[in-house]
Symmetry: C2
Subunit: 229 residues, 2 copies
């Protein structure tokens, strides 16, 4: 499908038909998700494709049994897992060392990434340091706390989620991103570490043309959101 | 451009050529951004297109003068502004009342949204309540604090950012999402309320084919990120 047609075709669908979604459709959308830009290319995201009927039932309940989950053919849980930096950062160091990147970039991965992801318990100290330096010159104010790091990871996972949802639309199926879920129960179900965050659950299926949405897509006054300064 | 070609064409570009980006290209990408899915359709996002040469220079400095900002033709700052719910929620109530949505949906916008966005100072109380109920049945554990609400808003703004970046790629130009900036200075420059969060700065231009990237796109072992359960 053409790109802008895909953007227009995507709607959040709350009821799906009984038509199955071919495996290849999901796999292709997952491939698209993994090509999203992300923080320092550390790819601290995970995509749980919940296929076991028993787990699926539990996930539907954790999504408060909303119809977007209940009538879905497939369910994917997007997770931010900052701990993946331990696997991906050494690979980034290898890559950067192999190309003609400025030396500063190598130092960034060798020194700054471990300090940021590994030493979040020093958050108060970092906060004071960054804000003191910030009085004199521009400096990034974060991430300092572990919550800040989760936030960075969640943003990247959201970028990937959008790729995933658009890629499903481009193949003629529909999605609904859900934030109304019981994070504790989802984490227990997927055996996630307490350091992770559940970014969203995405349901997939064929849109029920009559009852998939409540009406036309609603977008408000563009001037409320777009500012030229 | 075809959708999957667009996904593959998008790379984060760190050096741009001197070629100007037509205004229509940015406007079209902003339109695409505004069509992203978002939390409760409250559209709590803002896109600052920084055009004044003086502000642009200050923004480049706040982005630590990195080449992705310095060589950019256009700069857009994506902001999460939860306070926009005050404008958009009444409009959602009007819309929901005008269509055949379940009564529960109307109640959600009339009662639950104001309680969530307006009463975040009750966070500790909400946390205890949600977690107590959660012992017995599935319930959303958040958002409770104002930080939680910002997080929800940032996720939605990230979904929109991905639409924006893909839409630029679909038109033959390139982007770089930047998180390495001085949030305090960016907020001061754009006169943002202290309740907002700067999600990312996105630079736009024509990719310098030789020096825009450090090499091929790096993606790690798919099995690290995709889990079938």
């Amino acid at each position: 499908m053409e790109f802008f047609d895909t953007i227009k075709a995507r709607r959040s669908i709350r009821k799906y038909t009984a038509k199955a979604v071919p495996e290849e459709v999901i796999e292709k959308a997952l491939d698209a998700a993994l090509l999203a830009p992300n923080s320092s290319n550390l790819q601290t995201w995970e995509f749980y494709w919940v296929r076991s009927p028993e787990k699926k039932q539990k996930l539907i309940e954790a999504c408060l049994s909303q119809s977007a989950a209940r009538t879905a053919q497939e369910l994917i849980v997007v997770v931010a897992n900052p701990a993946l930096w331990k696997k991906t950062n050494p690979e980034m160091i290898k890559f950067i060392a192999s190309v003609k990147a400025p030396k500063l970039v190598l130092t960034y991965y060798q020194k700054l990434v471990p300090m940021t992801y590994g030493l979040s318990f020093l958050a108060p100290l970092k906060w004071i340091l960054f804000n003191a330096i910030g009085l004199f010159r521009p400096i990034t104010r974060g991430p300092v706390s572990f919550r800040d790091i989760q936030e960075v990871s969640m943003k990247s996972a959201a970028l990937a989620s959008e790729n995933f949802m658009l890629a499903i639309s481009a193949q003629g199926f529909a999605t609904c991103p859900m934030e109304g879920f019981d994070e504790r129960r989802v984490k227990k179900l997927l055996k996630l570490s307490c350091m992770t965050r559940v970014v969203m659950a995405i349901s997939v299926g064929e849109a029920d043309e009559k009852r998939g949405t409540w009406g036309p897509q609603v977008r408000f006054n563009r001037e409320w959101f777009v500012k030229k300064v």
